[in-house]
């Protein structure tokens, strides 16, 4: 399929009442000359990508950072995207996401190179987003596998995860039970989940959430 970059990309721009009907590929191609088109691509796929990362890392902080870094990388390298290769826009985006995820699992940390390159601010996850991201993931199917892997964690992380993920308590209640601040409780759960995801991956366990 040959793709007319400029003609198609601009020709199908905003239609009707502000809804951009261009395809993901068209948006990516148009974003070379009109960077604002990339924002539309972000609006379409940001939450799905966040869910994708959260289900695999079990860590809201890591998922948020990986989402930001993936979109930043896509923005920085959008000039290299070519529909002629038969890769549609969303597949290209998730290719970058898989690459980022692989690096995260290998190194245990998340790069910020692409964000720095394009001048994107490095943001921390707002407190209220921890629960919202967990809601996106729906940890219920994971509970059986988590119970087995919890034994491998440090006591404080396991206790935090037990209260939050298995018992399903809200963070204020978790903080009260752990005798710590709510922020500390969130971080303890977040880091415990990150550790848990790594352990599960090392053991070759398949999370039910990843099947979704």
């Amino acid at each position: 399929v040959a793709w007319s970059v400029r003609g198609t990309a601009r020709g199908a721009a905003d239609v009707g009442d502000g809804v951009d009907e261009r395809s993901d590929a068209a948006l990516l191609l148009a974003s070379r000359d009109d960077p604002a088109a990339f924002v539309e691509l972000y609006r379409r796929h940001a939450e799905d990508l966040l869910r994708y990362f959260a289900r695999r890392t079990l860590d809201p902080e890591a998922a948020a950072e990986l989402t930001a870094e993936t979109f930043a990388e896509a923005f920085a390298s959008r000039a290299r995207y070519s529909y002629v290769n038969g890769v549609n826009g969303v597949a290209w985006l998730y290719g970058i996401a898989r690459h980022q995820l692989g690096r995260f699992f290998r190194s245990g940390r998340i790069d910020a190179d692409a964000r720095r390159k394009i001048g994107l601010p490095l943001r921390e996850l707002p407190p209220e987003d921890y629960e919202r991201i967990e809601e996106l993931v729906d940890f219920a199917p994971l509970r059986a596998a988590l119970a087995e892997a919890l034994e491998t964690l440090a006591d404080d992380q396991r206790e935090a995860l037990q209260l939050r993920v298995i018992d399903g308590l809200p963070y204020p209640e978790v903080a009260t039970r752990l005798h710590c601040a709510e922020t500390a409780a969130r971080q303890r759960v977040s880091r415990g989940l990150r550790r848990l995801a790594l352990v599960l991956r090392e053991r070759g366990l398949t999370l039910a959430a990843e099947v979704d």
């Binding site: 974003s31 000359d33 960077p35 972000y42 966040l50 948020a64 979109f71 919202r132």
Partner: protein
């Protein structure tokens, strides 16, 4: 975007900002890249080299104008700063032309051929000249003497400077160009004294040649006798005589070679001093063969200031060019601005 995750909303705002920034960057002309220090350094070095080149060319040009009687062009700007021709080590001879060659068994000698007859007249001509030059032109005139030597197919035999105002240079030029070189050197300044000596060595030369011819004939006979000897005693006797003759032949060939060199190339000793410098302070050859640390230091200082002076001369040439270029640039910019304002 419909989401309950605040982080994603903030991220969308961030991407919107990045996109706007990129759009603005695409629309605005590319910013002029700040010149880094390396660029400035390179530009300054280039300017200095250019100024030096122009300064050196200017000085060579000045020498041409100062010596209208010279038969050729000055091919070297050397010896203007160091008191000695660059590349000319003390005691070494730099030839501009090839020298004479002699066959091992031939009778050395070279005469001028006129009307089918060989002129065997051999005259050794040497000269000396003492010049007073204007203050501040000593180095330039030293370089001009070098150029005169080269122009006339000769070379600098020795060079010595005392301070920055007096010096002596001995040059060798082909005898045929001696008069011309002598005249050219004499025009460099006020001639305080001069002398030309001519020594007729024709008889000596002819004697050497005749003797050499006899010895060569004797050697031929002895070689024939050596072949006819039948005993060891006879062979040794003839061989000893042959060795003696060969030695005499070698000596005579050396004498003839020396005579020919003296005849074919004349020596001209040039004493130069600036008018304010005391007369008779220069000593021929002394500094060259007895170098000292202080003299080397003096030369280094002279060389340093010589380079600086040359660069300053070059900058003097460049300055008006830079001013003109600046005016032209300003006019062009003004015209463009007015053109934009009108449109």
């Amino acid at each position: 975007m419909e989401t309950r995750v605040r982080f994603l909303e903030l991220l969308e705002e961030d991407f919107r900002m990045v996109a706007e920034r990129e759009t603005a960057r695409k629309l605005s002309p590319p910013p002029r890249r700040a010149l880094r220090w390396k660029t400035w350094l390179g530009a300054a070095a280039s300017l200095l080299v250019l100024a030096f080149a122009i300064g050196a060319l200017a000085q060579v040009g000045g020498r041409k104008e100062a010596s209208p009687a010279s038969g050729g062009s000055f091919s070297s700007a050397g010896a203007a700063f160091g008191g000695q021709e660059p590349g000319l080590a003390p005691g070494t001879i730099h030839r501009a032309n090839g020298g004479s060659s002699y066959g091992s068994d031939t009778v050395a000698g070279k005469g001028s051929s006129q009307g089918g007859q060989t002129d065997l007249t051999k005259i050794v001509r040497d000269g000396a000249i003492a010049l007073a030059v204007p203050d501040g032109t000593f180095k330039d005139n030293l370089g001009r003497v070098v150029a005169i030597a080269h122009t006339n197919g000769g070379f600098v035999l020795t060079s010595q400077t005392e301070g920055a105002a007096t010096g002596t240079m001995t040059i060798r030029v082909p005898a045929a160009h001696f008069d011309r070189a002598f005249g050219q050197v004499g025009q460099l300044g006020t001639v305080e004294s001069s002398s030309v000596t001519g020594k007729d060595v024709t008889n000596q030369y002819l004697d050497y040649r005749a003797h050499l011819q006899n010895l060569v004939g004797r050697r031929t006979v002895l070689r024939g006798l050596l072949a006819q000897t039948t005993t060891i005693g006879e062979s040794l006797t003839v061989y000893n005589q042959l060795a003696g003759v060969q030695e005499q032949i070698d000596q005579l060939q050396g004498e003839l070679r020396l005579l020919n060199d003296q005849v074919e190339e004349s020596t001209l000793t040039v004493d130069i001093r600036e008018e304010s410098a005391p007369a008779g302070s220069s000593e021929t050859n002394g500094a060259i063969h007895n170098p000292s640390l202080s003299r080397a230091w003096d030369r280094a200082i002279q060389g340093f200031f010589g380079i600086i002076a040359t660069i300053i001369v070059g900058l003097g040439y460049l300055l008006p060019v830079a001013v003109i270029a600046g005016v032209v640039y300003a006019v062009v910019r003004l015209a463009r601005r007015r053109g934009r304002a009108t449109s």
